[in-house]
């Protein structure tokens, strides 16, 4: 049965019928516009990075020290360009393409914990 047939019969598109975006797709999406961590996300800073926890979905994710520092710096303003710029300032020797790749990967890892943000009340 096709997706449209299922939707027609049931009248609703269920979660199973609409595959969740992959981390890569989410990372691509997060490279556009402003994002922030959802307010209820817990960030536990550890010696070697941080653990993100979503109490509503029970999801956990770990990030490295650099990503942890970025989240502590601005959990309420996640912006691909700004983060790349900050890292470029800090790691002067690193190539921009490398930094962009790393930030994209990081955004994929935290996509579940983030939401779009219009920039107000920042």
């Amino acid at each position: 049965m096709s997706e449209s047939e299922r939707t027609e019969r049931t009248g609703v598109a269920t979660e199973a019928e609409t595959p969740a975006p992959t981390p890569e797709e989410m990372a691509e999406k997060m490279c556009q516009g402003l994002w922030r961590l959802k307010p209820n996300i817990v960030v536990r800073v550890e010696e070697d990075g941080a653990i993100l926890f979503d109490p509503d979905s029970d999801a956990l994710s770990t990030v490295n020290l650099t990503a942890s520092a970025l989240l502590q710096w601005r959990r309420d303003r996640i912006c691909f360009d700004e983060w790349c710029e900050a890292l470029q300032t800090h790691y002067k020797e690193a190539e921009l393409a490398q930094i962009q790749g790393d930030v994209r990967k990081f955004l994929g890892a935290i996509a579940h914990f983030a939401e779009p943000y219009d920039g107000e009340n920042s």
Binding site: N40, I41, V42, V43, R44, F53, P55, D56, D58, L60
Partner: protein, 354 residues
């Protein structure tokens, strides 16, 4: 652990009222502890007892958890679960993971262990939880009194769409210490319980969880007659997560590594901040230092033949019975399973004679 009070007097209970040094914390103190757990960025908590549902402010405590960013588990005997209580649990924004004590599938067996009438009330409680659409996970303490009913427990679990059953050997502390000799499986019973469990796990991998699942895995390896292909443990003490990734706060505020180690007191949240106890208690640090310790240095493991395939004993049981850290508990299940086999033949087959 929110209360020491319980409506049952189970033979295998790892707790006993006499082990607590101070009175139970008040509801206000419990709420303060929850806030402290939030400050420590604890993600998961288990609410246990005694029987947690006997606490007059149970739902006030639960509501407080709901307002904090954490997930929770409820450990209950289910006998006090009414339809109203189940509905209230169902309405919570984050449903608990509910672990229900289930020690037999006949009233005779369950009531012998947990007291008269407990079987009927437990089944009614599970029925109320299921009717409310809540998932439960049976928790069975395995003993010579109930090992014959393992198949029926899994059958019942399947009938109510339960995906996992947690089975554990009896604790070595609390009231259980008094009945340990009467409850421990004899070698032939141990083999039978392992065979029954193995056939269930072979049909439905992953359905069995808890310490008994490790015992069954170990039995499967030895039954295969060789350790070849088995991931070697490098003969070191790996230890469980207690004291490294988790802890228990007793109803009187005492902080211990797990609920089987009440004599291993690391501090009290009424006297010191939890984070201070967690980071600075010499007793917690002693646990962390044990990781990687050669099993030959663990008291009670020195002469065991199965270091190659053992993850190390339950240190809580060892400490409860011997007062020594780290030590294996006398009657360690790995050792008892090992005794069912010819060690030399297995090692020869493995291409390694120790």
């Amino acid at each position: 652990m929110i209360t020491r009070r319980c409506n049952l007097r189970c033979l295998h209970c790892g707790s006993s009222p006499e082990q607590f040094l101070r009175e139970d914390m008040s509801t206000k103190e419990l709420l303060t502890v929850i806030d402290e757990l939030v400050r420590c960025k604890v993600f998961h908590i288990s609410i246990s007892g005694g029987e947690p549902l006997i606490h007059p402010d149970f739902f006030e405590i639960v509501d407080a958890i709901m307002q904090r960013p954490m997930r929770w588990q409820l450990d209950t005997n289910a006998t006090l679960v009414t339809e109203k209580a189940a509905e209230r649990l169902k309405k919570l924004p984050r449903h608990p993971f509910i672990s229900v004590s289930l020690d037999g599938m006949t009233a005779e067996t369950h009531d012998r262990i947990r007291g008269p009438g407990s079987f009927t009330r437990m089944k009614r409680g599970i029925g109320a939880l299921r009717a409310a659409g809540l998932q439960v996970r049976p928790f069975m303490v395995l003993s010579r009194l109930n090992y014959g009913e393992i198949p029926q427990i899994f059958e019942f679990s399947r009938s109510i769409d339960v995906k996992h059953v947690n089975i554990t050997p009896p604790a070595s502390c609390g009231r259980a210490a008094c009945y340990a000799k009467d409850m421990a499986l004899q070698p032939d019973q141990l083999r039978e319980a392992l065979e029954i469990s193995l056939s269930i796990v072979d049909r439905d991998p992953g359905v069995l969880t808890g310490p008994w699942a490790h015992a069954v895995d170990f039995y499967r390896v030895l039954k295969g007659g060789t350790l070849a292909g088995v991931k070697r443990t490098n003969r070191t003490f790996l230890n469980c997560g207690a004291g490294r990734g988790s802890l228990t706060i007793a109803c009187d505020g005492t902080v211990v590594p797990c609920d089987m180690s009440y004599t291993y007191r690391t501090g009290n949240v009424r006297d010191k901040p939890l984070l201070d106890i967690w980071h600075n208690s010499p007793m917690f640090n002693a646990i962390r230092e044990c990781r990687g310790m050669p099993l030959a240095q663990v008291r009670g493991c020195e002469d065991c033949s199965w270091h190659d395939a053992c993850l190390g004993p339950c240190p809580a049981g060892g400490y409860a019975l011997t007062g020594i850290w780290p030590a294996a508990e006398p009657g360690c299940v790995t050792r008892e399973i090992g005794k069912l086999f010819d060690h030399e033949a297995i090692m020869q087959e493995s291409g390694k004679v120790s």
